[in-house]
């Protein structure tokens, strides 16, 4: 395995691909921040807020999952 530069490049590339999850993490944080504030101010609306919150989280999380899929492709396919 010594000097196997392709394997090293694969690992580095997969690590770099996962940098994209920073944005998704911040996005999920912002979504939950808004939703919790909304629920605290108007507890009656918490059902609809929760539904929309999960939808928003799913959209934000999709970006992180793209990064994950790219990283997995680099690691296990190419």
């Amino acid at each position: 395995m010594e000097g196997d530069i392709v394997a090293a490049a694969k690992l580095i590339g997969a690590g770099l691909a996962m940098i994209g999850t920073i944005g998704a993490g911040a996005g999920v944080g912002i979504v939950v921040n808004g939703a919790v504030q909304g629920m605290a101010r108007n507890p009656d609306a918490s059902g609809t807020v929760l539904t929309n919150m999960i939808l928003g989280i799913a959209f934000a999380e999709a970006i992180a999952i793209y990064c994950l899929v790219v990283a997995l492709l680099i690691l296990f396919v190419f």
Partner: protein, 330 residues
């Protein structure tokens, strides 16, 4: 009142006896992981072929092999059909309060129906079946990864990157860690979770997105396609008409992005989950995997609900008329 009745019926967790069982299994797993240390399985994204030769050979699809994710799909189908029969029996028995599986299913479908009705209004009866069956199918599919034996019982396959094998019982072999002296082997599992096959998730995403268009056309008529090809304000308002047209084209692109995001979200979550379970099980064979199985339980549940709910919300959005903004639909 129902809760009180349930508490009487529920058998108490016999902590005094069951803790010795738990201790026994922990000791057993320590002993077995000492004798046969776990091997990190070979991870590949495409489903493994169980049949040597293709079962179908069509010019359009190419060679179709019998894969281990198909086995899992058949099992999911059998479970779904079993649920159908048990619910049918519960309905025919005439009891007003169903119990067991049918009771759980009634509670789940009631939540799903109320959610659909609050979002889609009068189109709830059209949209509800898609929401319900997608959620149920994906839920059972995802939870299959929690069953012991899935992903690790299978046939031995000769491989260049394989491991040596040892016999644990007559006729039963296991792979051992280390470099093989002669021919190396790998395990091809009989059952692999269907959600870790992109074919399954893309098929579900295609069903969801195409049915969204069909329901949209049924609700709004041919005017539905004005959402994508909006030239109504093109000549009336010089600048904003152009912007409306560009927005319509973006909507068209976002429909294709929906297929991608639907399929990759489910695939990525569940595949990453199985890979994580493999690696944790290899690194720390005792106890640690239990915590991650709990995590995967929730990931599977949430992904199933999200897939169904996004389908429902997109369909509900498609049933509302688009071109006019005079608040008639609200």
């Amino acid at each position: 009142m129902e809760q009180e009745q349930n508490q009487v019926n529920v058998k108490k967790w016999r902590w005094g006896i069951n803790r010795w069982w738990v201790l026994l299994f922990i000791v057993l797993s320590i002993i077995t992981s000492r004798i046969f240390p776990p091997v990190q399985p070979h991870i590949q994204i495409a489903a493994e072929h169980l049949s040597k030769s293709p079962i179908l050979n069509t010019p359009l699809l190419g060679e179709v092999y019998f894969t281990n994710t198909m086995v899992a799909m058949f099992i999911v189908d059998l479970i779904l059909i079993g649920i159908v029969f048990s619910v049918n029996r519960a309905v025919k028995s005439g009891k007003l309060v169903p119990s067991g599986i049918s009771g759980a299913l009634e509670a789940m479908l009631e939540v799903i129906y109320n959610l659909t009705e609050s979002t889609a209004g009068k189109w709830a009866r059209t949209i509800f079946p898609f929401f319900a069956i997608i959620t149920l199918t994906v839920l059972i599919t995802n939870w299959m990864e929690l069953i012991p034996g899935v992903d690790n019982i299978g046939i031995l396959h000769e491989s260049d990157e394989g491991h040596p094998i040892g016999e644990i019982a007559p006729g039963i072999w296991t792979v051992l860690p280390g470099e093989p002296e002669g021919q190396g082997y790998q395990i091809i599992p009989f059952i692999r979770v269907t959600s870790t096959d992109l074919n399954f998730t893309i098929a579900l995403a295609l069903v969801s997105v195409i049915m969204t268009q069909i329901i949209g056309v049924r609700a709004v008529g041919p005017a539905y396609f004005k959402k994508y090809w909006n030239t109504s304000t093109f000549f009336k308002k010089p600048v904003f008409g152009l912007i409306d047209f560009a927005v319509g084209l973006l909507e068209l692109i976002s429909e294709f992005a929906k297929i991608l995001s639907f399929s990759f979200r489910l695939f990525g979550n569940i595949f990453a989950g199985t890979v994580m379970l493999f690696i944790i099980g290899t690194l720390i064979p005792v106890m640690a995997q239990s915590a991650f199985l709990g995590l995967e339980f929730f990931v599977g549940l949430i992904q199933a609900i999200v897939f169904g709910m996004l389908t429902m919300v997109f369909m509900a959005m498609a049933t509302q008329s688009h071109g006019s903004h005079d608040d008639e639909g609200h």
